[in-house]
Amino acid sequence: MKLLVPVKRVVDYNVKVRVKADGSGVETAGVKMSMNPFDEIAVEEAVRLKEKGAATEIVAVSIGVQQCQETLRTALAMGADRAVLVLTEESPEPLAVAKLLRALVDREQPGMVIMGKQAIDDDMNATGQMLAGLLGWAQGTFASKVELSDGVATVTREVDGGLETVALTLPAIITADLRLNEPRYASLPNIMKARKKPLETIAPGDLGVDVTPRLTTLRVAEPPVRQSGVKVGSVAELVAKLRAEAKVI
């Protein structure tokens, strides 16, 4: 079975982003970029399935600017076999991404698409569900465990009340949650090897997809800042303040 794994290039999770003074967006110039952490988990899951013999080939896909090649090389170094970059000027919206991925699914015919549950930049948590809808496939979102047997993926999902397990007829979409696995670090030899793995670049037009956004960002603002508080000297003082001053207990 072939696996398709979409990976997004995002501002690194350790960076505290700053809103641009003109309110047009957040400052990304000179900011460290990395693979979306949930996508790393997705790549790791795919690699483990291949190592177990449940998958034969892993195709990593990224949609965005030229530098997404670096993100794809990371996926290749982790164990993906080849990569496709859909080159765009900006990062398209989830709907456009889902359409591009559907076109790639038509071309590649994977048995499963494993992707992150959410990108930590736009925090949309939507693309996997949308791709599943467009394909008419089953979706196993927020996955913390995936087991494959006889054309069925049994997926344990992290839901509000705890865990839920669903059985999905393949082909299916899986979106990874934090506890699905702990992604490996690529070893130096694997990073070297990844440089030689195939990386194809295509345009959205090649896939027949219009990526015009449906949402216009009117402005981006800083959230309200919290007034800095006080340090208390003892538990007794804390409780007294919560009772008399804050009146919350």
Binding site: Y13, V17, V26, P94, L95, K117, Q118, I120, D121, D123, M124, N125, A126, Q129, A132, G133, G136, W137, A138, Q139, S144, T154, D160, G161, G162, L163, E164, T165, V166, A167, L168, T169, A172, D177, L178, P213, R214, L215, T216, T217, L218, R219, A221, E222, P223, R226, Q227, G229, V230, K231, V232, V235, A236, L238, V239, L242, R243, A246, V248, I249
Partner: protein, 313 residues
């Protein structure tokens, strides 16, 4: 304009988050709610009494019983043409279903709105809440999930809506099947809507030590939450996680114990009214958002706190 809200319910009760979604919808126009599931008569009845709801659509059928995304999204797609807005609370169900339905309707969904500006324009956090984006949708129909912590829940009583039956659809595509759930059981208030939340982090060291928090939570009527590190380490179940990628809470009082205050954690609790932090490291970033900070070893502070709360005020 008319808005349809997919109403979350669990154990026969409509969740406060669902009633928050009703509040958001009421800012857009007349509100209809969709109640789905098997044998949901009582829930649909209760939905008619939610303040501000004009009509309850009841889809009572086995295929909707476990709120699987595939049949629910298909149902929303069938009902959507009569509505300008289709909303759900940003719960596990809402997040699972709304984007799928949106794709089928060729709509870009708007996730986790925190404010309604007008019928087309919404505010939503991006980058773990470090920025707030005001976005305008050009889609003819809007599909939206609502961050419950930012909208007061509509009153559970006061409405007098009518009920309309909705025919169940075919289970198409019939590609998923419910197997089982493993739900955390607790007599404590629900984390997402509790008035007081006490969360433990990696500083708790193990699950056993969370017992130190329990009597304090009992005294305050609090829900217990956790950081990702505490969940990853297996101290507490996954549904305790507060943060960017866990639950978003905004209680009157949030107490962070042995939590450093990573941006991903802050994203889930910094809208709380009053924040208390107990941490032995005076430099921990959690103190930058705390109204009251106590630099102390939690293993000394928690028993003291329990004793202090036991004293009459």
């Amino acid at each position: 304009m008319t808005a349809l809200v997919l109403l979350d319910h669990a154990d026969g009760r409509i969740t406060p988050a669902a009633r928050s979604a009703v509040t958001a919808a009421a800012a857009l126009g007349e509100v209809h709610v969709l109640v789905t599931g098997a044998a949901i008569g009582a829930v649909a009845e209760a939905a008619t009494r939610i303040a501000g709801v004009a009509k309850v659509l009841r889809a009572d059928a086995e295929i909707y019983d476990k709120a699987l995304a595939e049949p629910l999204a298909a149902l929303l797609v069938r009902l959507a043409p009569a509505y300008d807005h289709v909303l759900a609370a940003a719960t596990a169900t809402g997040k699972n279903v709304i984007p799928r339905a949106a794709a089928l309707l060729d709509v870009q969904p708007i996730s986790e709105i925190v404010a309604v500006v007008d019928a087309e324009t919404f505010v939503r956090p991006i980058y773990a809440g470090n920025a707030l984006a005001t976005v305008r949708s050009t889609d003819a129909r809007k599909l939206i999930t609502v961050r419950a912590a930012n909208f007061d829940a509509a009153a559970a009583e006061g409405g007098s809506a009518t009920i309309e039956e909705v025919e169940a659809g075919e289970a198409t595509p019939a590609v998923s099947r419910f197997v089982s759930t493993e739900l955390s059981t607790s007599d404590r208030p629900d984390l997402a809507s509790a008035r007081v939340v006490i969360s433990g982090g990696r500083g708790m060291q193990n699950g056993e030590n969370f017992k130190l928090i329990e009597p304090i939570a009992d005294a305050l009527g609090a829900a217990i939450g956790a950081s990702r590190a505490a969940v990853d380490a297996g101290y507490v179940p996954n549904d305790y996680q507060v943060g960017q990628t866990g639950k978003i809470v905004a209680p009157d009082l949030y107490v962070a114990i042995g939590i450093s205050g990573a941006i991903q954690h802050l994203a889930g609790m910094k809208d709380s009214k009053v924040i208390v932090a107990i941490n032995k490291d005076a430099e921990a970033p959690i103190f930058q958002v705390a109204d009251y900070g106590l630099v102390a070893d939690l293993f000394a502070a928690l028993p003291e706190l329990q004793a202090e709360l036991a004293k009459a005020s």
